[in-house]
């Protein structure tokens, strides 16, 4: 077919512009079509980041880092999980008077204080820092009236707070 335009003869930036619109699965299939597309996809930091991000089930956090840095951190993160080695230790001395963490969600640990004062106990929310995931350490404490149950889900920004039923 003489009239059939051959897309591979197009400049690389046109091909990249097309590929940028594809999801990770279509990009992987595109790599299997021919050498040139395979190379363009694997040489593109942006496309490679999209593929590797989807492969570990994550979504882009819209951090203001450039894509190359995001890809570098993603690979370090994956390597850390593959090796399951401690990458850091954080001491939490300010939580000495709390019970063991009652739950963990979205990178936060929830602690309840062991003692009460003025009819109130304390609930602490501890975000442990992670360089790879751009999370800064954060510590939030708030009082809860004795006789109330509280439940926190940081992934939903949700605090449920309900009176404990009388025994």
């Amino acid at each position: 077919m003489a009239a059939y335009l051959i897309i591979l003869r197009f400049p690389e930036d046109i091909l990249l512009e097309i590929l940028t619109n594809l999801d990770s699965r279509s990009l992987l299939i595109c790599r299997t079509t021919c050498r040139r597309l395979n190379r363009i996809v694997s040489d593109s930091v942006l496309l490679q980041y999209r593929i590797e991000l989807a492969a570990c089930g994550m979504v882009d956090g819209r951090q203001t880092l450039d894509v190359a840095e995001k890809l570098r951190r993603l690979r370090l993160y994956n390597a850390a999980w593959n090796e399951v080695e401690w990458t850091g230790h954080t001491a939490l001395p300010h939580l000495a008077n709390y019970q063991p963490p009652s739950m963990a969600s979205a990178g936060a640990l929830v602690f309840h204080s062991a003692t009460t004062s003025h009819n109130r106990s304390l609930t602490a929310l501890q975000h442990v820092s992670s360089k790879l995931r751009c999370i800064h350490e954060q510590h939030i404490v708030f009082p809860v009236d004795v006789g109330f149950n509280s439940l926190i889900d940081p992934s939903q920004d949700l605090l449920a707070y309900a009176p404990r039923p009388d025994p």
């Binding site: 335009l5 512009e17 594809l22 279509s26 790599r31 299997t32 395979n38």
Partner: protein, 173 residues
């Protein structure tokens, strides 16, 4: 690069606030268009700047057919006076091309025509149109198998049998 032929100034008279440009397609059709319609094209804008520097106006020869050129002019006429972020040379490019309904209808053409338009838009440096065409082409291949993609893209399998079966070059996801 097209060669630039000098034309008599009387063939491209200025009229009103917008001057006229003479565009010549590869099939030698002469198309007169108002300059501000084509100002979305970085390529044309640079040519016009050149005219101003030498105070000589020329016809601009373009390496694609009048059929494709008219389609691009239709696009530029539709967005005449509109601000599109992708065409702003001073703005940071958006990550992906935004979806514009009019563009989707405008680009509802066959595969070959779509490829011709993207090539022309790339040549003329009209980023918004390149982006919309790229999106439309991506829509054609999304979710397709390797064979179907080869068919649509006009691509030949040039992997060796060993490469085809090695996991590094062939990932089927």
């Amino acid at each position: 690069m097209p060669t630039i032929v000098s034309v008599d100034d009387s063939t491209v008279p200025g009229e009103g606030s917008s001057r006229l440009l003479l565009l010549v397609s590869s099939d030698n059709k002469h198309i007169v268009v108002e300059e501000d319609i084509m100002s979305r094209s970085r390529f044309i804008s640079k040519q016009v700047e050149g005219f101003e520097a030498t105070s000589q106006r020329h016809a601009i020869l373009l390496p694609f057919s009048s059929f494709v050129l008219n389609k691009v002019i239709e696009y530029c006429s539709h967005y005449r006076g509109y601000y599109l972020l992708e065409d702003d040379p001073d703005a940071a490019p958006p990550g992906r091309s935004p979806v514009r309904e009019w563009d989707q209808e405008f680009l509802d053409v066959d595969r070959n025509m779509l490829l011709r338009i993207i090539k022309a838009a790339h040549y003329l440096e009209i980023k918004s149109l390149v982006g919309s065409c790229a999106r439309a082409i991506a829509d054609m291949i999304r979710g397709k198998t390797t064979e179907e993609m080869r068919e649509i893209l006009g691509v030949e399998n040039d992997f060796t049998p060993e490469e085809e079966h090695s996991p590094s070059s062939k990932c089927t996801g």
